[in-house]
């Protein structure tokens, strides 16, 4: 019995050994890589792979939808429904509004999130993976294809990483700088989460853009629907100006490195931070120089498209190139356009015109209307301005800055004459009495940039109007502002650029005349940008800012400018207004349309004339209305709070926030659901 067992065991051992030998032989059969998917080792080895990868991220909406790298008619959530668009980013500023505003203007309402938010590295991961893979491979000669194109696509990778970092810089300021794909290791990731001072982040972005400029060209395959070298230069000037002006106006506060109460100073790794240029002031000058140099390279090379002043009402009229640049399906021939996004009725459409055609529940503000110069270069309040008043919306266009005339749509103007037998017009009585998301306007001053004047474009989901992503006029403006900040004077280049802009706008190019006529106290009533740090700025700087506000009508630059200028400290119950609805124009409205002062305020359709003759979109009803008492701001709101989850997962024990490697932005608590400290 016993012997038999031993024999069996021996046999088993013997066969087990032979199994092992066999097993190693059979291993080959078990070596199977994915058969229908391409592994990273086999991809990004050819020019076409590179082209496919970067273009995917132009408007890629991963779970971090609010940070699409290049926004266009895509809404912030990555959808193109509801007519949301980058063009609507001026909503909830002093330029434009809906019937509501944003919680950022009611301290206490904007609260710290529990999870998520913009503390997100998905695009950064995607671009780090790309650059880490492609750059060494390219240098080793491992990428096939046309080397000019390959280099261009490599440059796009740097460009896109810079775009994402610029977004984080604006939201958070100090931010981790990550250039590599990191492993799934808690310790390494927590270490990598350490926030670098914001000027370092900005320098990193500029370095990426320098790489992009080095690699890219201005005629990539596909043309200007792809990123271009000039666009990289433009963004470089944008980032440098943003950082320079931020550091200048926020200097000494907790919002800049080494400022009073800067939370970074409490962390071991940022304590005793030394500026690479030696001082905070030197940093500002460094960024200004970068902005000046980059913007000049674009502005010198690219002309502005002309404006013939025509507001077209029929096909027989000459095309106004300045208007058409924003409203055409193919702006490729316009030199000023550095990059655009094209649409196609078969492949990709949007619905911008569908909403713009009716007002979309939005409108420019009375404060914006008052801020445009007269064609003669004078502010409206100047004694000889010739201002026609604002009893009627169309009156505000008389002898005004051409940009207001072109891009604000007044009653009875033509909505569409193309592809329609009887041209349609905007209502004589603007639908100011409704809060409908499509068929209304919040102020009466209807947003008109990008309105195609084409009936077909306004059909739901049939709009193929192109979107201008980057245009050269911004470089002109960036140069003027940066050089003035650096030198305190308008140099020859700036003088030339400014005059070109004003000439194109149909405004007297002599800006000194405007400066002389500017009354800062009057401007402070209608323009938040008249202020920095709660103080009115000088008239020259102010007129540079006004130029920017006017040129960028409807283009979504406003809120970022207000942030970097620190131009919202003074807000304390600011009431946004629309058209003068209770003036003579009230006669244009059918009976029963304008309803206010009702006991049951839910029946009100407009604000009370006892408050103002002008429409006050936030004061139609009082109950459940956070904006009824006007807009306020606080220092914490210049930067976003980081959601609590991120402190927890970078803490050593997963729960003690004080052990986290990251710190909260100034003025914000680390408790979910809580508003800025003190509110």
């Amino acid at each position: 019995m016993k012997t038999f067992n031993i024999k069996t065991v021996g046999k088993e051992i013997l066969t087990a050994i032979s199994f092992l030998i066999l097993a190693s032989g059979c291993n080959d059969a078990l070596e199977l890589a994915p058969q229908s998917a391409v592994s990273p080792e086999k991809y990004l080895t050819d020019e076409s792979h590179l082209a496919a990868y970067t273009v995917n991220y132009y408007s890629y909406s991963n779970s971090n939808k609010n940070t699409i790298l290049l926004r266009s008619f895509d809404g912030p959530d990555g959808s193109n429904s509801g007519g949301e668009s980058l063009y609507y980013d001026d909503i909830a500023t002093d330029n434009a509004t809906t019937r509501g505003s944003n919680n950022r203007f009611v301290p206490g309402l904007w609260t710290v999130g529990a999870t998520g938010g913009d503390w997100n590295f998905k695009n950064i991961y995607a671009m780090n993976f790309y650059l880490n893979t492609v750059v060494p491979r390219f240098k080793a000669g491992g990428v096939t294809g046309n080397s000019t194109n390959i280099k261009h696509y490599i440059g796009e990778g740097y460009f896109l990483r810079a775009m994402d970092y610029f977004y984080r810089l604006r939201k958070y300021g100090d931010f981790p700088i990550i250039k590599e794909v990191l492993p799934d290791d808690q310790t390494i990731l927590a270490e990598a989460s350490k926030r670098r001072p914001r000027n370092e982040v900005a320098r990193f972005i500029l370095a990426d853009l320098d790489s992009a400029i080095l690699y890219m060209n201005d005629a990539p395959p596909g043309g200007k629907v792809r990123l271009t070298k000039k666009a990289a230069l433009l963004v470089k000037s944008r980032v440098a100006l943003f950082e320079a002006s931020w550091e200048k106006y926020h200097a000494g506060t907790a919002n800049v490195p080494n400022g009073t109460g800067w939370p970074g100073a409490a962390m071991d790794y940022n304590k005793n931070y030394q500026f690479p240029s030696g001082s905070a002031a030197n940093e500002i000058n460094y960024f200004l120089d970068q902005a000046i140099s980059a913007s000049a390279q674009v502005a010198d090379a690219v002309d502005l498209v002309p404006n013939n002043g025509v507001i077209r009402t029929a096909s027989s009229q000459a095309v106004n190139q300045y208007y058409d640049m924003f409203a055409t399906t193919n702006p490729n021939s316009y030199a000023e356009v550095l990059m655009y996004r094209a649409y196609d009725i078969t492949y990709q459409t949007h619905s911008y015109n569908h909403y713009a055609y009716w007002g979309g529940g939005k409108g420019y503000t009375r404060q914006y209307a008052d801020n445009f110069l007269m064609a003669n270069g004078l502010p409206i309040y100047a004694p000889a301005s010739g201002y026609a008043g604002d009893n009627y919306i169309q009156d505000t266009k008389v002898n005004r800055d051409g940009r207001w005339r072109l891009f604000m749509k007044a009653p009875q103007e033509i909505k569409a004459f193309m592809n329609i037998t009887t041209p349609e017009k905007f209502e004589t009585a603007p639908v100011i009495y409704s809060s409908d998301g499509k068929y209304s306007t919040s102020t009466g001053y209807i947003l008109g940039k990008g309105l195609a004047l084409d009936y077909n474009m306004q059909l739901l989901g049939k709009d193929v109007t192109a979107f201008i992503v980057f245009r050269a006029a911004e470089a002109y403006l960036n140069y003027i502002e940066a050089s003035y900040l650096k030198t305190g004077t308008i140099d020859a280049k700036a003088d030339g650029y400014w005059k070109k802009l004003r000439t194109r706008a149909g405004v007297d190019p002599d800006y000194t005349k405007t400066i002389a006529a500017t009354d800062m106290n009057k401007e402070g009533l209608v323009d938040w940008g008249a202020y920095s740090k709660g103080q009115l700025v000088d008239a020259t700087l102010y007129n540079i800012r006004r130029e920017r506000r006017s040129e960028f009508i409807g283009e979504g630059f406003r809120y970022n400018d207000l942030l970097r200028w620190r131009a919202m400290d003074q807000l304390n119950g600011f009431q946004i207004e629309g058209c003068k609805v209770w003036g003579p124009m009230k006669a244009d409205f059918a009976a029963g349309k304008l309803v206010s002062d009702q006991t049951d305020e839910k029946k009100n359709t407009v604000s009370s004339q006892s408050l103002s003759l002008y429409m006050r979109p936030y004061q139609v009803v009082q109950s459940n209305n956070n904006f009824y008492n006007g807009l306020k701001f606080c220092n914490a709101h210049y930067l976003e709070p980081i959601a609590v989850q991120h402190f927890l997962i970078t803490a050593t024990d997963g729960k003690t926030i004080s052990t986290s490697t990251i710190y909260q932005n100034p003025g914000w608590p680390t408790e979910a659901g809580k508003g800025a400290i003190g509110f």
């Binding site: 032989g25 059969a29 492949y347 989850q645």
Partner: protein, 1073 residues
């Protein structure tokens, strides 16, 4: 690796395993050598059954030789050259074998008995059969008898409830004609985050789908439940094995069997819709309760009432709207849409014919089955056809070599309206408003608001699935009790799906000739074709040897198994047809809208296995298994894994001390097993590889006016990903007593799935991508199975009863949820726990509600909703903090919630009762779940839901809602079951009041049969004839809400919208020629 290499692999295996066994075999077999030469003679005899009827075609064989014959039409046989020491073996289908020593008798009168449970009963186990009494692992068995005359579409349906621990549940959309029930063995195996916990299903040793097997071909089904039983199949079988063994030819005359059944199906437990007048009141109340605004105007309601009362013309069902279309939002018909969509009856039938028989050299079995079934959908037909053929031949080439070959072919054809897709179930109930007419006043279908035309004319989907299985096997027996077996299993599946989609149109009211695209219409005309082919190649080489030394019996098994599976698919789609009657891809015209997809995938495994059984006198039983598995799913350094297991058994009844009790109890066996298995069934076939997402012409940023190709960054893959381990402990008791009249067994098991693939623990966001899945979770499933059977007869009256009950529960023992959030798995908790509030009741008045809220000073019920009033639910402040909320929604702080139930089905039960008397037989089979909680969400249970009026429905049951108004058109109802209806979910929050008891017992099958007397049949040259009537799902006992079927509670769309299961009435006949 290529074929050549594989072949070398196999060869090497054979070479290295054979000599060791050969040597062993040679040294241990010598006793049978010297047989004395005896005088041989001729024997004759007659074989009859118990009732004295002669048996035709009985195999009579001299044991241990190839000598044999079969009985003639009178049951007589004659056999020459028989020595007195020879043993004659009589065998016959359905009868117990009988062995008789020839002695010197010249003639025999043999009476064969019907086979019943006996000590020699064998069970198919991995790569072998084993005597049931000697089993040490946990194995459940079902036989052909259990499946007989069940009027069901496939064998899986018939298996439900038969074997304890084999859990079969309805899934997907319920009872669609092509639906497949899900199968698991002993409950949840994995959380399904990256791996599957399905059992391995083997048909005659090869992986397959039971749904496509001809149920009449099945001889037995073994369910290997514990690790010891299933471990021989290694990493493919960690969660049990279902072994289906099909019939094969037996020596004897040819038996021809024909059987059929004709069925009539009717929808089971269909909810009843409200009528139009009830509906408008119900919905209007729901809207008014929430917003103080009426959903319907008085004029509209009056029109509905007038039509309902017959005061309007029959076709005066809708008014014209200003758009020139019908005002389809406010029609006033009165239609029972469920009756409109579903037929009351649908027929089906099944025919089966088989031929089997053979000689001692050659046996054969041939069968063919045809089944056709119609669906309930009235608009647009559904059809399901199944065709199967099976052929098996076995040939004893020489005394030492046997060849077997079998081929099975199965085809299923399924056709349905294209638009009866998943989305249909989302919409059917919410859009089945009784006020909606079938036809507009001009006689056209109102396709904006009903699906009739969409079903009828919106295109067809046809699926044809072909499966061809071939198995070749050579058995070499160099010595008695030593076999070397090599087999090759090949399976090819070819599936083809076609669908086309066509637009349907509505007609204008003011200009009926003119049409427009209907709201329910597909937006494009599309033709789509999909082709799939898979091949499965499985060579097995193994050898077994049995050695008996006195009371010691040793059995050894060694083998090698390899599997290769590959699949490819191709699909193409293009819009716009030249002619709508010709939905053919080549006749589509759209040049820009086309899609092409094609993929190819493959996996392979290799495994070495060995088993050793030791049996001392049937008293002490030991089994040891080991397997060494490799899988293509893991990289070389983690590819191979050893999985050992073992089991022990002790038949106490064979101990001497058991003494005289043995007369009553023949088997009292305790057994135990433990084993580790690994799971290779990862969801991804290549889980360790990073892959790039690539897209062709799918980019949204147009380049050159076209969509560009795109590529996406790869996700991370955990560097540490490896095998999941499944560790099972099983203890059991088997008993046979009172001369086998009583049989019973009990098993208790604990199955731990460790290092289970789960979602990675959250990492700092700087990672920049999703945390990769990794082996970071554990779960434990434990439970028991109990079976008890009784079988006896009182004279000619035979009766039997069988009961089985099983239970399993799953507890999460490790999971990355440090906060204990209730929104995912929580460590230490059973899965499927239901956490909810405690209901005090429905407030009968506003005052009662206010008094209740006054007791909640710190926030009332605000966390659940606002505007609490009469008819709303009063929730209990169980933690007495002055407010009702869910705290942090974690296991340690769930506020006023508590565990109120668990939705795991518990105590699954099957009961079989059978009676037979002189040819008449009755069988009754009950199946059920004795404990299960279910918390209903969605419109099926609630009617009006928080998702708004367009995601709500109206059944008769929903009418029992709170109505305080004495003047309500539906009457006051203060003592209602439902709270006041709202288009707001606050009263539907998970709570004790509406927790459903989803337990049930269902009379799955009841049949009456009559087997004709053989004396009558002889004249017609028939062997046997049985006729029967049979019914499925005849009766259901449940406390569950009438809005749903207990078998479909929790599946389907919108809280339970499913295709109804059916109640079936059938009759048929079974003839043996």
């Amino acid at each position: 690796m290529n074929v050549k290499k594989k072949f070398l692999c196999l060869l090497a295996l054979s070479v290295c395993t054979m000599p060791t066994l050969w040597a062993n075999g040679m040294s241990s077999t010598s006793s049978s050598a010297a047989v004395q030469q005896e005088k041989k003679g001729t024997v004759t005899g007659k074989v009859v059954d118990k009732s004295g009827e002669s048996l035709i075609g009985v195999s009579v064989k001299v044991k241990g030789t190839t000598l044999g014959t079969i009985t003639d039409v009178n049951g007589n046989f004659s056999l020459t050259n028989v020595a007195p020491s020879d043993v004659l073996v009589f065998s016959y289908v359905g009868m117990s074998n009988m062995e008789v020593r020839a002695e010197n008798r010249a003639s025999f009168a043999v009476t064969l008995e019907n086979s019943s449970v006996n000590m020699d009963e064998v069970v198919v186990v991995g790569f072998a059969v084993q005597k049931k009494v000697n089993l040490t692992g946990s194995v459940g068995v079902a036989t052909a008898k259990d499946l007989e005359a069940r009027p069901v579409a496939n064998a899986v349906q018939a298996l439900q409830g038969l074997v304890p621990g084999l859990n079969i549940t309805t899934s997907g959309n319920g009872g669609e004609l092509n639906s497949k029930k899900t199968i698991n063995v002993r409950g949840v195996g994995t959380i399904g985050a990256g791996s599957k916990g399905d059992p391995l299903i083997l048909i005659d040793g090869m992986e397959g789908d039971i749904n496509t097997v001809n149920p009449q071909d099945i001889e037995s089904i073994s369910v290997l439940k514990d690790a010891a039983a299933s471990s021989i199949y290694g990493s493919r079988a960690p969660f049990g094995v279902v072994l289906v063994t099909t019939k094969k030819g037996k020596e004897g005359r040819m038996t021809i069997n024909y059987n059929n059944n004709f069925r009539f199906n009717t929808p089971l437990m269909m909810p009843k819709m409200q009528n139009s007048w009830e509906f408008v009141n119900y919905f209007d109340d729901a809207n008014f309760n929430g917003s103080n605004a009426h959903l319907f105007t008085d004029a509209y309601k009056q029109r509905v009432k007038d039509y309902f009362d017959g005061k309007l013309n029959a076709n005066d069902v809708v008014l014209q709207a200003s758009s020139g279309k019908w005002d389809y939002d406010y029609p006033n018909a009165n239609v029972d849409w469920l009756k409109e969509y579903y037929k009351e009856w649908s027929p089906s039938q099944e025919h089966n014919i088989s031929f089997s028989g053979g000689t001692n050299k050659l046996t054969y079995y041939l069968s063919s089955n045809y089944m056709t079934e119609d669906g309930f959908m009235r608009a647009g037909t559904e059809k399901y056809n199944r065709y199967t053929t099976t052929a098996k031949i076995g040939s004893q080439l020489t005394e030492k070599v046997k060849l077997d070959y079998s081929v099975r072919f199965g085809r299923t054809d399924y056709g349905r309206p294209t638009n009866m897709s998943d989305d249909f179930y989302n919409h059917i109930l919410r859009r089945a408003r009784p006020v909606r007419p079938v036809l507009d006043p001009n006689g056209y279908y109102m396709s904006d608001i009903n699906y009739i035309q969409t079903m009828q004319d919106g295109g067809r989907q046809n699926e044809q699935n072909d499966g061809l299985s071939q198995q070749a096997k050579v058995t070499i027996s160099p010595l008695k009790d030593w076999n070397v077996i090599a087999e090759l299993n090949v399976k090819t599946d070819n599936n083809w799906t076609h669908w086309d989609q066509k637009k349907v149109f509505s007609h204008y009211a003011n200009n009926p000739e003119q049409t427009y695209l209907a709201l329910t219409s597909p937006s494009n005309e599309v033709v789509y074709e999909y082709a799939y082919r898979s091949t499965y190649l499985n060579p097995n080489v193994y050898t077994n040897y049995t050695k008996k030394v006195k009371k010691h019996t040793f059995t050894g098994l060694l083998g090698f198994q390899s599997e290769q599976f590959d699949q490819r698919n191709l699909s193409a789609q293009r819009n716009d047809m030249i002619n709508l009657d010709l939905p053919v891809l080549s006749l589509t015209t759209n040049t820009t809208s086309a899609a092409l997809v094609g993929t190819y995938d493959k996996w392979t495994t290799a495994g070495f296995f060995g088993r050793l059984n030791y049996d001392y006198d049937g008293r002490y039983l030991i089994e040891l298994n080991n397997r060494y598995d490799g899988s293509s799913r893991f990289r070389a350094d983690k590819r191979w894994i050893w999985t050992p297991s073992g089991s022990l058994g002790w038949n106490i009844a064979r101990e001497a001390f058991f003494g005289g009790l043995q007369d009553y109890i023949s088997v009292l066996k305790v057994r135990g097993s433990y084993g580790v298995l690994a799971n290779q069934n990862t969801e991804s076939w290549y889980p360790t590889y990073q892959t790039m997402g690539t897209g062709t012409a799918n980019g949204g940023w147009l380049i050159g006016g076209l969509k560009p190709n795109t590529a996406t960054a790869p996700g991370l893959v955990s560097a540490t990903l490896t095998w999941e381990k499944v560790k099972t402990t099983n203890v059991g008791v088997d008993i046979r007593a009172l001369k086998d009249r009583l049989t019973g067994s009990f098993d208790y098991f604990v199955r731990n799935t460790v290092d289970m693939v789960g979602p990675g623990v959250e990492l700092p966001s700087t990672l920049g991508t999703d945390v990769p899945k990794t082996n970071n979770c554990d779960l434990q499933t434990s439970g028991w199975e109990f079976e008890l059977g009784w079988k006896d007869n009182i004279g000619d009256f035979k009766y039997g009863a069988r009961l089985n009950i099983s239970d399993s529960r799953t507890k999460i023992t490790r999971y990355g949820n440090p906060t204990g959030s209730l929104s995912t798995y929580v460590e230490g908790q059973y899965i499927n726990n239901i956490y909810g509030y405690t209901t005090i009741g429905i407030a009968k008045t506003d005052a009662e509600m206010n008094a209740h809220l006054a007791t909640l000073a710190n926030g009332g019920q605000n966390a659940l909703g606002s505007n609490w009033a009469a008819g709303d639910i009063m929730f209990e402040d169980t933690n007495a903090d002055g407010k009702v909320n869910n705290g942090a929604n974690t296991i340690s702080d769930m506020g006023d919630m508590k565990k109120i139930g668990n939705s795991t089905p518990r105590f699954r039960t099957g009961i079989t009762l059978d009676l037979a008397y002189k040819g008449f037989d009755v069988t009754m089979f009950w199946q059920g779940v004795l404990k299960r909680d279910y918390y209903p969400t969605g419109l099926v249970f609630w009617g009006a839901t928080g998702a708004g009026q367009f995601w709500s429905t109206a059944f008769k049951d929903h009418l029992d809602y709170f109505r305080a108004d004495e003047n309500s058109a539906l009457g006051q109802n203060l003592d209602s079951y439902y709270p006041r209806p709202l288009f707001n979910g606050k009263n539907q929050t998970t709570q004790t009041r509406y927790l459903q008891d989803a337990s049930y017992m269902r009379l799955k099958n009841l049949q009456f049969g009559y087997t004709f007397r053989q004396s009558w049949l002889k004249k017609a040259k028939l062997q046997s004839v049985r006729i029967f009537v049979s019914g499925e799902n005849l009766l259901t006992i449940t406390k569950l809400s009438k809005t749903m079927d207990p078998e479909t509670a929790g599946i389907g769309a919108q809280g339970g919208t499913v295709y109804p299961l059916s109640r079936t009435y059938a009759c048929g006949l079974n003839v043996n020629f």
